[in-house]
């Protein structure tokens, strides 16, 4: 038995049932047409100037920084959490799992408000910290990263937990009989087994953070150059400068495709 994931290939000549094709075509059209409409409005002649606009470059830098930071924090804290959920038995585990998934189903604005009550300048924890040190999360890049991590972390935890559950634990037993301690078992056996879920979880997490809007605007505000990420900039520009909004959207699409397309076949097929 091997634990390899091989993508199953469609048999050559296998023809899908007739009813499938038009429905699939409609789904594709629904997903693709908006982008065509957007592309058709791109102000190609002034595009390069717009892309050099500090509003765009700052927003892009902020978005990438916060999305990658959220991904890093999610890996740091999410992998141990996924391990606890997948590998330990304790009362209240299902409740804990529900709490972890909550930010996935909650409207992000609610999450942002909750963050404000916890870590805002007058928040449960944020208040005392601000009083003693003058440090606050809202309206800073740290606030953006916190909001991004809050909504993105569950994606990583859920994916990695599923990976850990489906991993063949007997391989870990085999490693232990060969003299490997817990850390070596984790590093050389468990981690390679869950690598596809880990990568898929990280990409999902990154993508969710990159597109994050509601929690960010609620918790971190929308200060140009400080907390105004790409999605926020797009939304604001739509109301004043439509061409700028389109240029920003184009950049977001390009960045997302650049990350997702090379990874899709290798990692997202878990």
């Amino acid at each position: 038995m091997t634990t390899h994931r091989r993508r199953s290939r469609v048999r050559p000549g296998a023809r899908p049932p007739l009813v499938v094709l038009p429905l699939a075509a409609l789904a594709v059209a629904f997903l693709v047409v908006p982008f065509i409409a957007l592309l058709q409005r791109v102000p190609w002649s002034s595009l390069s100037d717009r892309l050099r606009d500090p509003i765009v470059t700052q927003a892009l830098r902020l978005s990438l920084t916060s999305a990658f930071s959220a991904m890093g924090l999610s890996l740091l804290f999410g992998v141990p959490l996924a391990w606890v959920l997948a590998r330990t038995e304790f009362p209240g585990r299902s409740l804990l799992r529900a709490l972890v998934i909550l930010p996935m189903v909650l409207p992000p604005v609610v999450g942002g408000a909750a963050l404000l009550f916890a870590f805002g300048r007058r928040g449960l924890f944020g208040g005392p910290v601000f009083d003693h040190t003058g440090f606050q999360l809202p309206f800073t890049i740290w606030g953006v990263i916190a909001a991004n991590t809050f909504v993105a972390l569950p994606f990583l935890v859920v994916t990695v937990e599923a990976g850990l559950r489906s991993a063949d634990r007997r391989l870990e037993d085999a490693a232990a009989t060969l003299g490997a301690g817990r850390w070596m078992v984790f590093r050389r056996v468990t981690l390679p087994m869950v690598a596809p879920s880990l990568a898929a979880g990280a990409v999902l997490c990154w993508a969710r953070a990159l597109g994050e809007f509601g929690a960010t605007v609620t918790f971190a505000g929308s200060l140009a150059g400080r907390t105004e990420t790409m999605p926020l900039a797009v939304f604001l520009a739509l109301q004043s400068d439509r061409d700028a909004a389109i240029a920003l959207s184009l950049v977001l699409i390009a960045v997302s495709l650049a990350v997702l397309v090379p990874l899709r076949d290798r990692w997202l097929a878990v």
């Binding site: 007997r170 037993d173 085999a174 490693a175 232990a176 009989t177 060969l178 003299g179 490997a180 050389r188």
Partner: protein, 351 residues
């Protein structure tokens, strides 16, 4: 020497069993599914905590709940070859074998060099850089054995070493495993549900049923006085001794010749064949068929939904058939029949 007195409850299983395996000895732990064989093996390896009892290797206590002693799996001097072999799928063959040496602190280069030497002993050096998915069942087994032996354990545990193989490959690989096992001098404990494995590979059998040892001894001792219906069926395996009469031919004591699927391993051999693998015909099968001869039904005994036939003739045999076959072939004591056996159903080994 391995000594295990294991008492534990796990789900439905209530395991209370004590076994000892001396150095240089191969003991087969036999029993039906769910008897607790694999659980006992896992307890010895430290993968399954015991409720009470004691596991020792030589003078080292590995597990003794009353004394508060538990040596972790990775600190036990025990090598395990698992069912399905469980090679690490993303590592090459040589890195699989080097894994245990790396865990013991050898440098990468030293571990690989030693791993190569061990692979060479089992004839797998040429495939050192292959990935496990490129290996056949028999090759995987040899790598799994090399991996377990590379750490130079004092005890070797084998969990259903042949269950993952198809019937055709099994015969050959069983003989090969017997040869490789002979090169290890510690205690060897082998879990199997196949009596032929036990006959071919083991010096002594321990029968485990419902979590209890119901019988133990050499195959001959156990066969003489079967302690339970399960054991009776188990040792109902036909054991024929003979001499090599060709590369794949064995001459039996009665003069009949058997064609076997594998090269005959030595001058004096034994052939094991299950009663279920003996086919009974009313008329002579196709005259070109091999391994067929006339016989007389000496006795019939119903055993659950099967009928066991004692067959007299040049080669005394036990055959197992369905009641329907008894009616179809009109099998009564004294009936003249023909028996036949397929070469792949014959396990031949040095005697």
């Amino acid at each position: 020497m391995l000594s295990a007195d294991v008492r534990l409850r796990l789900g439905e299983l209530d395991l209370v069993a004590a076994i000892e395996v001396g150095d240089g000895e191969v003991v087969a732990l036999l029993g039906p599914n769910g008897a607790g064989k694999t659980t006992l093996l896992r307890a010895v390896a430290g993968l399954q905590p015991i409720d009470a009892g004691r596991v020792t290797v030589d003078r080292d206590v590995l597990d003794d709940p009353e004394a508060g002693i538990f040596v972790a799996t990775n600190d036990r001097p025990i090598g395990v070859m698992f069912q399905d072999y469980l090679l690490f799928p993303r590592m090459t063959v040589v890195d699989n074998v080097a894994f245990g040496l790396r865990a013991r602190g050898r440098s990468r280069a030293a571990a690989r060099a030693e791993a190569h030497a061990v692979l060479d002993r089992v004839g797998m050096a040429a495939l050192a850089r292959a990935k496990p998915r490129e290996l056949s069942g028999g090759q995987s087994q040899r790598v799994a054995l090399a991996r377990a032996l590379a750490i130079e354990p004092r005890v070797l545990l084998l969990d259903e070493p042949l269950a993952a193989l198809d019937a055709g490959a099994k015969l050959h690989i069983r003989a090969e495993l017997r040869r490789h096992l002979a090169g290890f001098h510690g205690a060897r404990l082998l879990v199997t549900h196949d009596p032929v494995d036990a006959l071919v590979l083991a010096d002594r059998m321990v029968v485990l049923e419902g979590g209890r040892v119901t019988q133990q001894g050499t195959p001959a001792e156990v066969a003489r006085r079967p302690g339970s219906p399960y054991v009776a069926e188990l040792v109902g395996v036909n054991l024929l001794s003979g001499t090599a009469a060709g590369e794949r031919t064995v001459r039996l004591a009665g003069g009949a010749e058997l064609v076997v699927a594998d090269p005959v391993p030595g001058p004096e051999v034994a052939v094991a064949v299950r009663p279920q693998a003996v086919t009974v015909h009313r008329d002579q099968p196709d005259s070109s068929a091999r391994n067929t001869w006339p016989a007389t039904v000496a006795d019939l005994a119903a055993d659950h939904d099967r009928v066991r036939l004692q067959l007299a003739g040049p080669v005394p045999l036990v055959a197992e058939v369905t009641p329907a076959a008894v009616a179809d072939l009109d099998l009564t004591p004294g009936a003249e029949v023909w028996v036949s056996m397929k070469a792949v159903d014959l396990a031949v080994y040095e005697h």
